[in-house]
């Protein structure tokens, strides 16, 4: 089975985010990055499928130079090679644009399975994977928690709301978006890390994908991203101050006398 895993690098969880003065985005140069959580699970899923059924795992990622770190991590964990779209000349938070670029890179590879994380921890639109399926003409299932290989396709467990699940059968090739927690992510071993260097990372520019600047121009899909800002607080929490004993006393008073919850 040839599997392509779409991975994105996002700021480390709990990063202190500072918004740029012009509100165009957050300051990125002071941040540390990691593989988007659900993408990481998607990679692990791909590696396990390969271990069980053979085949090849190819990482696909897009971004500035720094994302090579994520690629190397993926290769160190056992992916066979990587496609890297250098987006130095454009950036987009529009899932439709991103899916267009990713689809152009995936098509010539004719994979059996495309895996993506459920959503990114930065933009969090949760759309890119599903749009990608439509662009590639593949059947898809999102929020997948388990995969079984069948003779002529796959059977997947999809998460529904409130603790409900559903089994779905799909023919291959197909696209799945993977939910965090589907498995346990492995650690990159020293062996894997040292072997990663020898693996192929194919760098692709927009022109290699048959795309031009116009194809990725901001707003070209009708989605007009305007600005980011710190949310106005709808509710002002009363932050209790003092040492632990103090705040505990204050809180207990408030809960008993103001909120009357006990």
């Amino acid at each position: 089975m040839k599997i392509i895993v779409c991975m994105k690098q996002v700021p480390v969880k709990d990063s202190l985010l500072k918004i740029k003065d012009d509100n165009s985005w957050v300051h990125e140069d002071e941040l540390n990055y990691e593989i988007n959580e659900s993408d990481h699970y998607a990679l692990e899923t791909a590696l396990r499928l390969k271990e069980a059924h053979g085949g090849e795992v190819v990482i696909l990622t897009m971004g500035p130079e720094r994302v090579k770190e994520a690629i190397k991590q993926g290769l160190a964990k056992g992916a066979d090679r990587a496609l890297y779209i250098n987006n130095a000349d454009f950036t987009s938070i529009d899932p439709m644009t991103n899916a267009k670029v990713l689809a152009a890179a995936i098509s010539p590879e004719t994979p059996d399975l495309v895996l993506a994380g459920l959503q990114t921890d930065d933009n969090g639109s949760g759309q890119t994977g599903v749009i990608l399926a439509e662009n590639l003409g593949l059947p898809h299932t999102s929020i997948v928690m388990e995969i079984e290989k069948l003779d002529n396709g796959i059977k997947v467990k999809r998460e529904l709301e409130s603790g409900w699940f559903q089994w779905i059968e799909l023919p291959l090739p197909a696209l799945l978006t993977i939910q965090s927690g589907i498995n346990q992510i492995r650690y990159a071993t020293i062996k894997g890390i040292m072997m990663a260097k020898k693996k192929e990372v194919k760098e692709l520019a927009l022109s290699d994908l048959g795309l031009s600047g116009a194809d990725v121009a901001a707003g070209s899909t009708g989605l007009d991203f305007q600005k980011v800002y710190v949310p106005e607080k709808t509710k002002q929490a009363l932050i209790l101050e003092g040492d632990p004993k103090d705040v505990a006393e204050q809180l207990a008073d408030k809960l008993k006398n103001e909120a009357k919850v006990f």
Binding site: P95, P139, F165, S180, Q226, V228, L240, P244, F262
Partner: protein
């Protein structure tokens, strides 16, 4: 007749879901801001009973996409049917509630239509004649504004709870109209097998008066003792955010959030929970919310009534003592 704002309904147990009513409220608000009519689209099979219920929800028109291929939800079936309806009706806006089902097909539909989708919006505001849709990025820490350009229709999904279902204006009765969809043109490639409940919900937290809920900040399963003591002191039930249940430190049926239970107790005491959106949607309607967290920037403080920034391992034992002293 056709409608300007088309709300896509979702049913649960043969009735319209609460989140559908929220989406109608969103449609009504947007309709009144823009001076546009609102319609509701039902998809499924044998929809007549549901159509009557829908007609009473304060919409001008109820459209039906009734077909056996829509009896079970599939992304191909829903996206294919909706594409035909939207192309035929040509509304300005198509609104959804951002459910797990919508997440599964709306992006596909948008791509098929070649139209933009702003997903999981928390509200919108008018700037002149144009609505600006607001969604959260970076897991709820930052808001982002989006406008929509080009030719309509525009697709928008709203987060559960973004609009209050109680604000529905249910005046009048909408006309019911069947749409012409040609489902032979739609190839459904996925096959739905059984639907099942992952964990038997033995605990119904939705009835709980007080909940102590614990998140990643607890660090180790042994530390759960601390939370249990707090719960005992407050006579509260124990719940958790997803990571804690994923790690098996509490059973899955005690998970609060989009993939767990939705609760609204009198007291929600969040211990070491940072407050990712997925968690917040499950508890934000609670009466009094208390948050204890090390990170002063944790989004949980944005919805809390009382916040304590500090080391939970110091704070919680002190709270237990203080609460016991007041009983």
């Amino acid at each position: 007749m056709s409608v300007d704002i088309l709300v896509v309904a979702e049913q649960r147990d043969g009735a319209l879901s609460r989140s559908t009513v929220e989406a109608i409220v969103a449609g009504q608000n947007l309709g009144s801001d823009l001076g546009k009519s609102v319609g509701l689209l039902l998809l499924g099979q044998n929809l007549s009973d549901l159509a009557d219920e829908a007609a009473a929800k304060g919409v001008q028109e109820v459209l039906l996409a009734d077909h056996e291929k829509l009896a079970d939800y599939t992304p191909d079936g829903y996206s294919g049917a909706l594409q035909q309806v939207i192309e035929a009706e040509n509304p300005d806006y198509v609104l959804f509630s951002h459910t797990y089902m919508v997440r599964d097909y709306a992006p596909k539909l948008a791509a098929a239509l070649g139209k933009p989708l702003v997903s999981d919006c928390i509200h919108y505001r008018m700037e002149g004649r144009a609505p600006i849709f607001v969604r959260q990025v970076f897991q709820g820490k930052i808001d982002a504004d989006f406008a929509l350009q080009g030719d309509a229709p525009y697709l928008v999904s709203f987060q559960t709870g973004a609009f209050n279902a109680d604000n529905l204006k249910a005046e009048g009765t909408g006309a019911i109209r069947a749409t012409n969809i040609d489902m032979d043109r739609v190839e459904v490639r996925t096959k739905v097998l059984e639907i099942f409940e992952g964990v038997k919900q033995e605990v119904d937290l939705s009835k709980a008066e007080r909940i102590v809920s614990v998140g990643r900040g607890i660090k180790k399963p042994e530390n759960m003792e601390l939370v249990k003591e707090l719960a005992e002191a407050l006579e509260a039930d124990i719940a958790a955010s997803r990571p804690v249940c994923d790690d098996g430190w509490l059973p899955l049926d005690r998970q609060i959030g989009s993939s767990g239970q939705t609760v609204a107790p009198k007291l929600y005491f969040a211990v070491g929970i940072s407050g990712a959106i997925q968690h917040i949607v499950g508890m934000k309607n609670s009466g009094t919310i208390v948050a204890v967290n090390k990170d002063p920037h944790a989004p949980i403080f944005d919805i809390a009534d009382y916040g304590i920034v500090g080391d939970l391992f110091e704070v919680i034992p002190a709270v237990v003592t203080a609460v016991k002293a007041r009983k």
